[in-house]
Structure formats: structure tokens, C-alpha cells
């Protein structure tokens, strides 16, 4: 039974993975994330964690899919409610740290609702207006054409998410904003991205990587699709360093957030998973090591709000 299921999963994977290359590690599934995965020799499906539960790997993928399918419609409202709006500041800061310029190409993975993508385009648009002003002020004279066309012509963001429901939310937001140029929406698995090698200047993943089953596969894929010199950036919940603050934060997470989920989104379980999955994610330094193992250089991280979230960064050199 387990074997046939796994065959099904790998069939599904190979269909997604059109750009199978030497560096694409779709086949190398389990042994890489040694901490959690223990495949025994009898061919049983490897185990991993889903929040605090131990589940088989394909089960995790399904459960994560279900969670995000359920929360997609209330995703933005819940983010605001849980973080008091702070997640917006984090994402703004995240893009500011990336500092893209007109012409930058970005792939935003697990970015279905477009939070990072819209901020990226907005930031680049402001940059190109600024550059125009410096170049002699066509934009300053009220003729925004030059800046607009420059940014439309070259900057591009590919939003990739495994979950169609999340992508749909993002697409409808794009329609509301009248934002069509410079964006494309792709459904795909981060462990096997449906794009070619060396294509992107930057790879971002915001609050997504902790839900992925094989983090090392995700990181290697990030490395593969980036251009040489390109930057990997990850915004993710992390470990609060101050013990006192951690206590308060834990209380808030476990006592308040699931209740909020129930009240606002009528969904306790998904938010229970959220707070549990945050605790399962490796702390800052350990994650740095994982990023380095994938081949990235100049790997650094920066804590936000005492480590509630952290920005990790690395370069393909």
C-alpha cells in the first residue's frame, strides 16, 4: 500500500518537474533532511512532522495543501489580526533589504497571495521614477511614461505556489490593483520548480519554507534557478532569543492564535498547525548552516522583533 502510494507521489512529482536537470534533486527525496526523516530499509514512507504530529511525507504535503486551501480566503485578514499588522512592516522591510532595481527578475516562491510580488513591483516602480528624476526629470515634469515603461519592460516577478487557492486570491488581488504587467503566476512545487536554470536575479520565500517537506531540496532548487551572483532571501518565523519574551510569545501563540482562528476564520486546526510548525522550524544558526550546505555564500541573517521572524540571505557566487 505504502509503496504504491509512493509511486503515485513520485509520478505526480515527475509530471511537475519538466526541467529535470543534473542539479534538480526531485528524485533525491528523503535522506537529505537527516534531522526529521528516517526512512528504514523496508521501503516504508519516511516520516516527518506536521506541527507536533509525526506523519508520513506524502501525508504532510497533503495536509499542508489542505491548510492553505482552507485559509486562502481569510489569509490576509488573519495575518493582520494575529500580528497586529506587523507582518506588513516585515514584508516592506524585507523588500527594502532586497533593494531591487528596474530590470530585476524575481521568483517569489510560496507567494500565492502576492504580498511580496506587489511590494516588489511597487518598490521597483519608485526606483525607476527616482532614476528618471536623476537623469533629467521626465517623470518630474508629470510625464511618468518613461519610468513606467522602463519598469514594465524589464522588471518581472514570477509568483510560484503549489496551492491553486492561494494563487487565485493573488490573481484577483492583481486584477483589483490593475496590476498585470511584469507578473506571471505559476503553480509549482518548490522542491522541483517548473523553471529553467540561472534565470532569476533574486529568489524570495516569505513564511513558506517551514511548510515544505524537504527543505534541502527547496534550497538546492533556489540555487539552481538563480543567476550567478543572485540572492536568496527568506522571511520566516524563527526563534525568540530572550527567554522572558519567548514565554510571553509562546503563551500568545498557543492560547490566543488558535482561538482567533476559530473566531475569525472558523478554523482552529489550521492555526494550531501554524504555531506548531513555527516551533518545528530550525533556529537561526541552524538554518544558516542548511543554506550554506545548499551552496550559498555570504550567508547572513537578521532578526525581526527579537527573533519572532528572521530574514536569512545568501548569494550564489
Amino acid at each position: 500500500m505504502a509503496v504504491s502510494l509512493r509511486k503515485g507521489v513520485s509520478l505526480f512529482r515527475s509530471q511537475l518537474c519538466r526541467y529535470r536537470t543534473a542539479s534538480c534533486i526531485c528524485k533525491k527525496t528523503v535522506h537529505s533532511s537527516a534531522q526529521t526523516d528516517t526512512r528504514d530499509n523496508s521501503g516504508e514512507e519516511a516520516q516527518t512532522h506536521f506541527g507536533f504530529q509525526t506523519v508520513s511525507e506524502h501525508e504532510k504535503a497533503e495536509k499542508v495543501y489542505e491548510v492553505f486551501h482552507n485559509v486562502a480566503s481569510t489569509y490576509d485578514v488573519m495575518n493582520d489580526a494575529m500580528s497586529g499588522g506587523v507582518h506588513r512592516l516585515w514584508k516592506d522591510y524585507f523588500i527594502e533589504r532586497l533593494g531591487p532595481t528596474p530590470g530585476t527578475t524575481l521568483i517569489d516562491v510560496a507567494g500565492g497571495t502576492g504580498d511580496i510580488a506587489f511590494r516588489f513591483l511597487e518598490y521597483v516602480r519608485n526606483q525607476s521614477v527616482e532614476r528618471d528624476i536623476q537623469r533629467g526629470g521626465t517623470a518630474a515634469k508629470g510625464d511618468g511614461e518613461t519610468g513606467e515603461s522602463l519598469y514594465q519592460a524589464s522588471s518581472h516577478v514570477t509568483v510560484c505556489d503549489i496551492n491553486q487557492a492561494m494563487l487565485d486570491v493573488g490573481k484577483s488581488k492583481a486584477l483589483d490593483r490593475g496590476q498585470t504587467a511584469g507578473m506571471s503566476w505559476v503553480r509549482g512545487n518548490a522542491e522541483c520548480l517548473p523553471v529553467g536554470d540561472n534565470l532569476y536575479d533574486a529568489y524570495t520565500v516569505a513564511f513558506g519554507i517551514r511548510n515544505m517537506t524537504h527543505m534541502d531540496a527547496v534550497l538546492s532548487e533556489a540555487y539552481r534557478v538563480l543567476k550567478p551572483g543572485g540572492r536568496f532571501m527568506c522571511l520566516e518565523f524563527s526563534r525568540v532569543t530572550n527567554p522572558l519574551f519567548r514565554k510571553i510569545y509562546d503563551e500568545y501563540s498557543f492560547q490566543v492564535i488558535p482561538v482567533m482562528g476559530q473566531v475569525i476564520a472558523a478554523d482552529w486546526k489550521s492555526y494550531q498547525y501554524l504555531v506548531e510548525s513555527i516551533r518545528q522550524f530550525p533556529p537561526q544558526d541552524e538554518f544558516v548552516d542548511r543554506i550554506k550546505e545548499a551552496g550559498f555564500k555570504v550567508v547572513t541573517y537578521e532578526n525581526l522583533m527579537g527573533g519572532i521572524a528572521a530574514i536569512h540571505s545568501g548569494f550564489k557566487l
Binding site: 533589504r97 532586497l98 533593494g99 531591487p100 532595481t101 530590470g103 530585476t104 536575479d201 533574486a202 543567476k227 550567478p228 551572483g229 543572485g230 540572492r231 532571501m233 555564500k297 555570504v298 547572513t300 537578521e302 540571505s313 548569494f315 557566487l317
Partner: protein, 238 residues
Amino acid sequence: MFPVVPRGSEEDREDQVRERVLQSALNFVPQHGWSRNALIAGAEIEGLPSVAHGMFPRGGIELVLYFYASSNQKLADMLAAETRLSQDGRMQKKSTELFIRDALETRLRMLIPYLSKWPQAMGLMSLPWNAPEALENLKTVVNDIWFYAGDTSVDLNWYSKRVSVAGVYKSSELFMLQDSSDDFRETWSFMQRRINNVMKLGDLAGQMQPGSIDGVGTFMSGAIEIVSYILSLVPPSF
């Protein structure tokens, strides 16, 4: 494609890439200032995507500190070569005063290509969180100059010598910013006068005998006058 550096450890390679970006970015300082934009332009020239500026998360100050440190290194190499020549007897040994004067001029001349943006760099360096590194760099310049000038003191003079040369350097640097004379002639003569001040201070100190109080008054008034010149508290007479 990005050229592959064949030898050296991975960290060496990281440093080499970073250094190449910084070196190229310096060419854009006159245009963009000591800023992220200069780093972006430098990264692009080196064939990297613009987002590679993220290797320098502190932005413009990293460029300033790199420029400062690499100029210090250049000066140290030149002074070492000069010292070797005079030790071999292939060049006449300069007096300490002249040696220091020439070294300071050489170092200040390195600022000329960036002079229009140098006030910005000084501003960045004086920010409290950048000041320790900036001071460290200043310390390196004066230390190198005294080292190659053959200073072997191990007493309090060690400090006073370094402080006084640092004072001459910083005040001449400030003077240079607003100097519009040919080839910065005014700056060099300003610097010479500050060096004369320092020498006078040294002479006065030399006249002080242990146990004597006769010279104390003269010494103190002279010293205060000179220190305030050096610190530019009082406009020096031209």
C-alpha cells in the same frame, strides 16, 4: 558567465568577489556618492545582478571603510618600499619631519578623485555606530607612518606622537575640502604649519627637565595654543 576563480578556499573567493564589487563601485562614487547606488553600479559592472549590493548590508559606509582601509594599505606598501630603499642606501634617508610630511601628503592626495563626495563620507564615519571602525582606520594610518618613520618609543610619547599626527591629518583633510588653489598648494602649506606646531611642542617638552618648574608656564600656554590649532578650535593665523 561569471568567471570562476580556480584556487583558494571558499572564503577567499567570497572576499575576492566582494572586493571586486567594491573596487568597481569606487568609480561610481563621484556620480552616486557613497551609497547603495554606487554599489549597485559596481555589481553590474562586475557582471552580477544589481541585488548583489546586498552583500554589503550597511550600504555606503562599507564602501567608505573599504576605501579607507585599502588606501591605508597602499600607503603602508609605499612607505615600506621607501624604507627599504633608504636602508639599502639607494636613497638618502629623509628627516623624520619630512618623512611624515610626505607620507601625509601622499595619503591626502588619495582623496582627490572623491573630494566632492568626501564630506558625505566624513559624515557617515562620524555616525556613532560607524565611528569605532573609522577611528580604527585613522589609528592605522598614523601608526603606519610612525612605524616606517622608525619610531621605537615605548613610553607616553608613543601616544602623544600618534595623537599629534592624527590631528595634523584630520585638520589638513578638513582644510583640503574647501581648498580651491592649484594642486592644493594651500593645503600643503597649511599642513606644513601644523607640523611646525607639533615640532615646537616637541621642543618645549624636550626643554622640560625633571624636577624643574621654570618652564611649566611657558610649556602649558604653548601647548594649549598648539592643541587648539590642531583641533581647529581657533582659526590658525595664515
